[in-house]
């Protein structure tokens, strides 16, 4: 029987299918990490090492992968009362925990007049549910060793700040996750794949995505949810092809699904059959004059690497860009690009990275906030303006699905921090920004600038080239 480890908890929160495959498949079955994923992992390890270096830590010594010996060595350090234990081992019959740090705190336990709590070191900017559940998972294992549950757990975030939280507040959720993991350990088929945003970066993508395609799974339809898929399957509608022709009569025949939702899903399935997006009738909402603004960021360092602007917001518009050499220079670089645009031009952007970045700066620098009023999220507009032949989570999905282009032809945006650290990396940043901006302009032209059909008239269907309908696959 394979033991449950903290990573399984982490995976389960992301996707139960991911946890099931992690539990049942050897590591060799996973997709090897991309270079930028290795780059990020290395920075994470360096951060943890730098943090731990400042602490008076003890490390249990044991033969590699002999976790029983590791647990015994950890117990000895716990009893000894070491102030900090790094990479301790906590084990039970069916669970294994390797917390980053165990910290000695006052309060009686089986160990004496002290006990320990779990502290994990993370490279994220704020605490997440999966990280908290992992700490609670370790805390329960620790409770079995020291005879009491620690009252708190901690997460060290990338700015070095520690976020503490009461273990009891999350215990029920953690126990439910562990129960679910035990069920998945027995039967991995309890968790079926479902196409979602995280699939694009999952190390089991080469297994799940072909499986979904082979089954013509309902999750390949835009707007599909787990609940709707379950209801439709119970009604005998199991593939996107069947959904495209599914016209039940009455609430019972549609499994009580909301009629509007079902109509929408059916149209999305029809778009999939057709292999092309269908522009929907919608209110007039002109976006010109407008520029498209885009950025590449280093999430780990919490800073922008470069900004790019395309004006006018057409594929043949003028592209300008500027790298931000330091965090302190970001605002000036951005303002210089924007100040060169017409004063009232709408600033089209994709997603919430730019508004979030801008918001911090406008307040920190007491700068005028009017610039934020010019922001329009192209992502939201594009997602709702048409029915796509596949779910569209990010820019890459839209470019692939609606334009039939390879969105990663200038590289993966996650690699930007890695490029910036390499000689000649600026050219790659520039190329990536330009490609993304021209793709956004092409999407705007193809989806948003198409005249909306009059109510009652047939919706406009767009011709596409390339492998449309294969978003994230």
């Amino acid at each position: 029987m394979r033991r449950l480890v903290g990573t399984h908890v982490y995976s389960y929160v992301k996707c139960p299918r991911l946890a099931a495959l992690d539990l049942h498949l050897p590591r060799s079955e996973r997709r090897p990490p991309h270079p930028w994923e290795e780059f990020a992992a290395r920075r994470g390890r360096e951060f943890e090492a730098a943090y731990v270096q400042r602490l008076p830590v003890r490390v249990p010594v044991y033969p590699e992968r002999d976790f029983e010996a590791g647990a015994a060595a950890t117990l000895a350090l716990l009893r000894e009362g070491a102030p900090w234990i790094h990479q301790g081992v906590l084990a039970s019959d069916d669970r294994l925990g390797l917390p980053d740090l165990l910290r000695k705190v006052p309060g009686a336990s089986d160990l004496g007049d002290h006990h320990y709590e779990v502290v994990d070191v993370k490279t994220s900017g704020r605490a997440r549910a999966d990280q908290i559940l992992q700490v609670v998972f370790y805390a329960e294992l620790l409770a079995a060793v020291q005879g009491r549950l620690p009252t708190h757990g901690g997460l060290v975030l990338k700015d070095g700040r520690e976020e503490r939280f009461p273990i009891a507040d999350f215990l029920a959720a953690q126990r439910e996750v562990v129960e679910e993991l035990r069920r998945l350990r027995e039967d991995p088929e309890l968790a079926r794949p479902f196409l979602q945003a995280a699939c694009a970066s999952c190390h089991h993508d080469r297994r799940c995505l072909p499986e979904l395609q082979r089954r013509d799974d309902l999750s390949l339809v835009q707007h599909m949810s787990h609940g709707a898929r379950a209801i439709l399957e119970r009604l005998g509608c199991r593939t996107t092809a069947e959904l495209a022709a599914f016209e039940p009569d009455g609430a019972r025949a549609r499994g009580n699904l909301d009629a509007t939702l079902l109509r929408r899903l059916r149209r999305a399935a029809q778009a999939r059959q057709r292999g092309a997006p269908v522009v929907e009738p919608r209110p007039r909402s002109p976006l010109d004059p407008a520029a498209i603004v885009h950025l590449l960021a280093d999430p780990f360092a919490d800073r922008v690497l470069a900004f790019g602007v395309l004006y006018p917001a057409r594929e043949d518009g003028t592209f300008r860009w500027a790298p931000a050499p330091t965090a302190a220079a970001e605002w000036e670089v951005f303002r210089a690009l924007v100040d060169a645009l017409p004063a009232r031009a709408a600033l089209l952007h994709f997603g919430d990275a730019l508004p979030r970045w801008c918001e911090t700066h406008t307040f920190a620098r007491d700068a005028e906030a009017a610039i934020e009023a010019r922001f329009v999220d192209l992502g939201q507009r594009l997602r709702t303006a048409a029915v796509y032949p596949a779910p569209v989570f990010g820019l890459a999905d839209l470019v692939r699905t609606a334009l039939g282009r390879d969105p990663l032809r200038a590289g993966h945006p996650g690699a930007a921090a890695m490029w910036a650290a390499e000689p000649g990396g600026e050219a790659r940043l520039q190329a990536k920004l330009e490609h993304d901006l021209r793709d956004l302009a092409a999407l705007k032209a193809a989806i948003l600038d198409v005249a909306a059909p009059a109510p009652g008239s047939p919706a406009a269907s767009l011709p596409v080239t390339g492998a449309a309908g294969e978003a994230a696959c």
Binding site: D169, Q174, S225, G227, A251, L257, R282, A454
Partner: protein, 582 residues
């Protein structure tokens, strides 16, 4: 290099206000750019509304399927759903689910607008944006320029109390029949030299205590401002004060006609326009929302600003009232409904209520005895939401709902179990569940017809307005005599009320949608308010899937975890087993 911008509380509040304003404008703008069906699914639009004609001054539309969030009074646009600039501005009226009729009325501020509706024609009804924000930014800046207020907001203040006044207050409050916790909290409020907080869980007599405290202070010649987020909450507080003191001069500030004005006048509460009001120099109670209080002449100041339902009052909204006084009394409960916040992922410190913000810095006096809930309901509520510090009053503890055994739902309605979970497994995504609506309608029928519970003593609560409509429709179809008296609404609309029996429809059936959107239906504050409306019986109607949500944000996960604990403690009755047995 890791950069982190440290903002002061003032900056965070200003940022929060700016984001609220911007996000509200942006969401309206983006909503108006979406296709009709997307707006319908968001509950912000009704498609296919056929105009039937004008009736008693209202425009009547046939609406087969109203899943919108519109409430009476909401401004709407009627048109083709595409050219929104050409839409006709009207105001939402009542929706008659049985007839499938929606009534729209003329907008009192746009009476001259033409309404060329064609009988029989089909229209799209959209939400119309309202003007936003007032003087909150100025209030934030002014508050932080005030030395004492700045210290209080930062938590760098040591509240002092007047001991002789405290001793007198204890005597006075004990004499009017308050319980020990109420006396302690009320005396602390009367004797404070700066601020005091009173936490009043459901049914613990918070508003009565507020009235006694205000009556005592006003009787001593003080000018008192009574503030709340809504006019309704202000009116409730003023009426309670009138009951506590028949001869105090009480003024309600209001700039337009509103509900409840007759009730106030009947209670000898003077209703005045804030800009023209001439108020007494001493011994007067002036009620109003914080905006109304701020409209008074700038030279007029109060000895005390008293805030009711302070757990729902955002910090910036409290500041106009706080700026008018030198002592502040807060009555609220941060475990009940929080402030309404538009911005997703808002800064939690800036988005907190004034009560929650000050509670973490100064603590509060807890009223620990509920006069509403019986022992069974109180036990569940107290354990899940109040760390077992809430107990029922002796008179309430043993109360039971009327019960006539022999029905198929006996196991659910057994009065021995204060709160039960009626499990009805389904996978409905979104905000409607017909399965739960039918089950709730069956329960209402059984309660009223078999057990003789008066319809007015039954409340049905759901987290989503779309589900509320579905529930109303399902109950109407039962044709139960007097069923129109059953209250069916969202938690927000039912706070402050109580009923013998409460049925809560959690609605959600897809745990995965909660991962991304946050599990709104598992908000512990809302569940607390919903269950604690019940005097003797609460039934939680929910799919097992509703509890399996694992939100990605820590606060959502904490609440979901709390709800999982609650689920595990409840008596669970599976509806399919129950119906199969009959």
């Amino acid at each position: 290099m890791i950069r982190r911008v440290q903002l002061s509380l003032e900056q965070r509040l200003l940022r929060f206000l700016a984001r609220e304003e911007r996000d509200e404008q942006r969401s309206q703008r983006e909503l108006r750019a979406q296709p009709v069906e997307a707006r319908v699914l968001d509950g912000e639009c009704i498609q296919g509304a056929a105009f039937r004609g004008e009736r008693a001054g209202a425009f009547v539309f046939a609406v087969d399927d109203n899943g919108s969030k519109f409430r009476p009074g909401d401004p709407v646009l009627v048109g083709d759903g595409i050219d929104l600039d050409a839409g006709m501005p009207l105001v939402c009226g009542d929706f008659d689910a049985a007839r499938g009729e929606l009534r729209l009325e003329r907008d009192p501020y746009q009476r001259d607008a033409e309404v060329p509706l064609l009988p029989g024609a089909s229209y799209v009804i959209d939400r119309r944006p309202l003007g936003l924000q007032g003087r909150l930014r100025e209030a934030v800046r002014a508050a932080f320029a005030d030395p004492l207020l700045a210290l209080v907001l930062a938590g760098d203040h040591e509240p002092q109390r007047d001991e002789p006044r405290h001793a007198r207050a204890v005597q006075r409050l004990a004499a009017v029949g308050l319980n020990p916790a109420q006396v302690a909290a009320g005396a602390a409020a009367i004797a404070t030299q700066s601020l005091a907080l009173v936490q009043g869980p459901p049914g613990t007599g918070k508003t009565r205590l507020l009235a006694e405290v205000v009556a005592a202070l006003c009787g001593a010649g003080c000018r008192i401002a009574v503030c709340a987020y809504t006019h309704r909450a202000v009116d409730n507080a003023l009426l309670a004060i009138r009951r506590a003191a028949a001869d105090l001069p009480i003024v309600k500030l209001a700039s337009s006609s509103g509900d409840g004005r007759d009730e106030l006048r009947a209670a000898s509460v003077q209703v005045l326009d804030a800009r023209r009001a001439r108020l007494a120099d001493k011994g007067v109670v002036v009620g109003g929302t914080c905006f109304q209080i701020a409209k008074l002449h700038e030279s007029y100041r109060f000895h005390y600003a008293v805030f009711d339902e302070a757990g729902q009052l955002p910090i910036p909204h409290a500041l106009p009232g706080m700026l008018r006084a030198s002592r502040w009394l807060f009555f609220g409960d941060h475990h009940q409904l929080p402030p309404v916040v538009t911005t997703a992922g808002a800064d939690p410190e800036a988005a907190a209520s004034i009560f929650a913000h000050l509670h973490t810095r100064f603590g509060s006096h807890l009223l620990d005895t509920t006069y509403r809930m019986n022992a069974g309901v109180c036990e569940v509520v107290s354990r899940a939401f109040y760390g077992q510090r809430l107990r029922p009053a002796a008179a309430a503890a043993g109360r039971r709902m009327p019960f006539v055994p022999g029905g198929r739902l006996d196991e659910v309605l057994d009065p021995e179990h204060g709160v039960v979970w009626l499990r009805i497994d389904h996978d409905q995504p979104g905000s409607r569940s017909l399965e739960e609506a039918h089950a709730v309608a069956d329960l209402v029928e059984d309660l009223v017809v078999r057990h003789g519970v008066p319809p007015a003593e039954v409340a049905v609560i759901a987290p989503f307005r779309a589900q509320v409509r579905l529930l109303r429709s399902a109950i109407q179809h039962k044709a139960i005599r007097g069923a129109e008296a059953v209250v069916v609404d969202t938690v927000e609309r039912i706070q402050g009320q109580e009923r013998e029996v409460v049925l809560v429809s959690l609605t959600a059936g897809d745990p995965h949608s909660g991962r991304v959107r946050g599990a709104f239906h598992l908000s512990t504050n809302r569940l607390n308010v919903a269950l604690s409306r019940a005097r003797t019986k609460a039934v939680l109607v929910a799919s097992g899937a509703a509890f399996r949500a694992l939100p990605h944000d820590p606060e959502g996960l904490r609440m979901a975890s709390c709800c999982k604990e609650l689920r595990d403690r409840l008596v669970c009755i599976d509806l399919s087993r129950l119906y199969a047995a009959h």
